[in-house]
């Protein structure tokens, strides 16, 4: 229907169309003003990515040096030793890059998947009181800061007597495992803790979608003799689909920002294997014994943004193919 309308409208000249919508442009001005002030004006800061810039010093233009440093690129006529240093230095960078993407994507899929399932089943609940209590409880973890979350879970996963999980293992005759000290185990628990903390809160948006489904649709389906599963299949899922795709794509933009959840759960034994970009940069600065260079962190930020942009464009393209339109 809209497509048809669009075709008709496209035949009209641009001038009248703009005039037709002048009130909408007016309405959009405040939104635009906020975005410009709080987001676009500070963007000049991106130029620092091409400088060396420490506290108390004037920025020095260094071209692409910060990016070369990041990727471990050295001049071809550099000595063997320099090349070796650069190669070793960039090893953890690529691992961290890979970790960032893998952790974020798995986390995103798990969280969204569970959130959708929980929302659907929560929506099927009859007792409003029970539903209310359940919803309040599953939102609670979102209010715990990551630091608190990490401190409680390190306790629950401890090897010693306080470790609830290991106590359970011991009680059934299994050996205690130092879950957070081994990279493989660490990753599993990282996902579990993320699901624990974020899934409940993510249901908010899906619950809202479910409750705004026109009840008439269910009635129509019921008249056609659809049972619970058929109704879910033909009414609930299609209605949720749009929201799911939107949520997934929007979160892709933030994929490279992964920091705090990883940071608070890391320890010396797994840091190298579980670093993501942001934690790697943090430790590089924190343990360097020198004052951090602003230019370097801006350069990394820029790199993250570009990766985020590429990921979003890919998904937007996929979305256009699959459902006929992109996110905007």
């Amino acid at each position: 229907m809209q497509k048809q309308a669009k075709v008709i409208n496209n035949k009209k000249p641009l001038g009248p169309r703009i005039r037709k919508y002048w009130q909408f442009y007016l309405l959009f001005i405040p939104v635009l003003a906020f975005v410009i002030i709080f987001h676009y004006l500070p963007m000049y800061g991106i130029v620092y990515g091409f400088t060396e810039y420490k506290v108390g010093m004037t920025p020095k233009f260094v071209g692409l040096d910060q990016f070369r440093k990041l990727f471990g690129i050295v001049a071809s006529d550099a000595s063997e030793a320099t090349k070796m240093l650069a190669a070793r230095k960039s090893q953890p960078f690529w691992l961290a890059f890979q970790n960032t993407i893998v952790f974020s994507v798995i986390k995103l899929l798990l969280n969204t998947g569970f959130a959708v399932i929980i929302s659907i089943f929560l929506n099927e609940m009859i007792s409003t009181k029970f539903k209310k209590v359940t919803q309040t409880i599953i939102y609670l973890p979102h209010f715990m800061s990551w630091v608190v979350t990490a401190s409680v879970f390190t306790l629950l996963l401890a090897v010693g007597q306080s470790g609830l999980v290991n106590n359970l293992r011991r009680s059934v005759g299994l050996e205690a495992v130092n879950f957070l000290a081994e990279p493989g185990q660490w990753k599993i628990w990282y996902y579990i803790i993320n699901v624990w903390r974020e899934t409940g809160w993510q249901t908010i948006i899906f619950m809202a979608t479910l409750t705004s489904i026109d009840p008439g649709l269910y009635e129509a389906a019921a008249m056609d003799g659809a049972g619970r599963w058929k109704k879910m299949q033909y009414v609930t899922f299609p209605a949720l689909g749009n929201t799911i795709i939107t949520v997934l794509i929007l979160n892709l933009a933030k994929i490279m920002n992964l920091f705090e959840s990883v940071f608070v759960l890391q320890n010396d034994a797994v840091r190298n294997a579980t670093n993501v970009l942001q934690t790697l940069v943090y430790y590089e600065a924190f343990n360097s014994g020198a004052v951090p260079d602003l230019g370097y962190s801006v350069a990394i930020g820029l790199f993250r943004s570009i990766v985020g942009l590429v990921l979003m464009l890919i998904c937007n393209y996929a979305s256009k193919k699959v459902r006929g339109r992109g996110i905007m």
């Binding site: 669009k6 089943f121 409750t211 705004s212």
Partner: protein, 304 residues
């Protein structure tokens, strides 16, 4: 294409006469085994979620310091909470938290709904461009220091305005809001247009009333973001007089590390009481918001 199908679905029931309570989820018999199993599953889910939180709650009410899991406090007492609420300087941060949360949520919802409403005008020239201008800010940012300098030049640093205004523009929420508006049949807007409504009238007479659940959920997301805001305060409004509850509580946690924290409550008790205190307002408030989440709106009924 999928779009088209969806709208047809909406229109089909709209033509029918709806009678009786429209809620289809109400089962014929409340004792269906499905609901029983569903209930059990959710009890388990809640238990799993509550275990770590229980640890914090117990510790906040325990005057001794337990390092492991305890089912109940070894020495029960409210001293942790008493020492928080006897702090004379807690009132102002609490006031600031309420002020920023209420005004910020209102402003945030206003910007999100207006922005979303403009962005569903599919035929509006430049619509995609405006959308992309917003999306771009989700990915690229100038960083905290340039932001600070811009805010400083606008004389916003260390004022309450910065913590109210800055989080109000949230592209993520705006796009979600637009997603909800899309669900409203275009025919409704068209008929409002034919009735001579201005865009603004259509907005608050059609778009807003039909999106109650969306407004509640996105409003809640805004409210919680404002309530939990710590980063913006720390970076752009770290003046003591502007502390909100989160800043104040973090400050308390930091200073409970200091050797001066004696009296009835130990350092551990206070710390855990602080964590619980930060959630309390939400637990009190949420049940009141809940009513917006349970009712679907029958579009057909609205149209008639």
């Amino acid at each position: 294409m999928a779009k088209q199908k969806k709208i047809e679905q909406y229109i089909t029931p709209a033509g029918k006469v709806v009678s009786g309570p429209p809620h289809l989820n109400a089962p014929k018999s409340p004792y269906e085994p499905f609901h029983f199993v569903n209930g059990i599953i959710f009890i388990l889910v809640c238990l799993i979620i509550l275990v770590p939180i229980w640890k914090i709650l117990v510790d906040s009410l325990d005057l001794t310091t337990g390092s492991g899991m305890r089912l109940f406090p070894a020495k029960f007492g409210f001293d942790g909470y008493v020492s928080i609420f006897s702090d004379k300087s807690l009132l102002q941060p609490l006031g600031i938290s309420f002020l920023t949360t209420i005004s910020g949520t209102f402003l945030g919802l206003l910007l999100s709904t207006i922005g979303a409403y403009v962005l569903i005008q599919w035929d509006m020239p430049g619509r995609t461009l405006l959308g992309n201008i917003l999306m771009f800010t989700m990915i690229f940012s100038g960083g905290t220091i340039p932001t600070y300098i811009v805010l400083n030049n606008l004389h916003l640093v260390n004022t309450i305005w910065v913590v109210i205004l800055m989080p109000a523009i949230n592209v993520y929420n705006l796009v979600l809001m637009r997603n909800f508006f899309e669900g409203i049949p275009a025919s409704l807007f068209e008929s409002a247009n034919l009735d001579g409504c201005t865009p603004w009238q259509t907005f608050y007479k059609i778009a807003l009333p039909l999106s109650k659940a969306a407004l509640a959920s996105i409003g809640l997301m805004f409210a919680v973001a404002y309530w939990n805001d710590y980063t913006n305060y720390r970076l752009y409004a770290s003046d003591r007089n502007l502390y909100n509850l989160q800043m104040k509580l973090r400050d308390m946690i930091a200073s409970s590390d200091q050797p001066s924290a004696v009296g009835g409550a130990t350092e551990n008790t206070i710390k855990n009481a602080v964590i619980i205190t930060a959630i309390l307002p939400f637990m009190i408030l949420y049940p009141f918001l809940q009513k917006y989440f349970v009712k679907g709106i029958n579009i057909g009924a609205v149209k008639e």
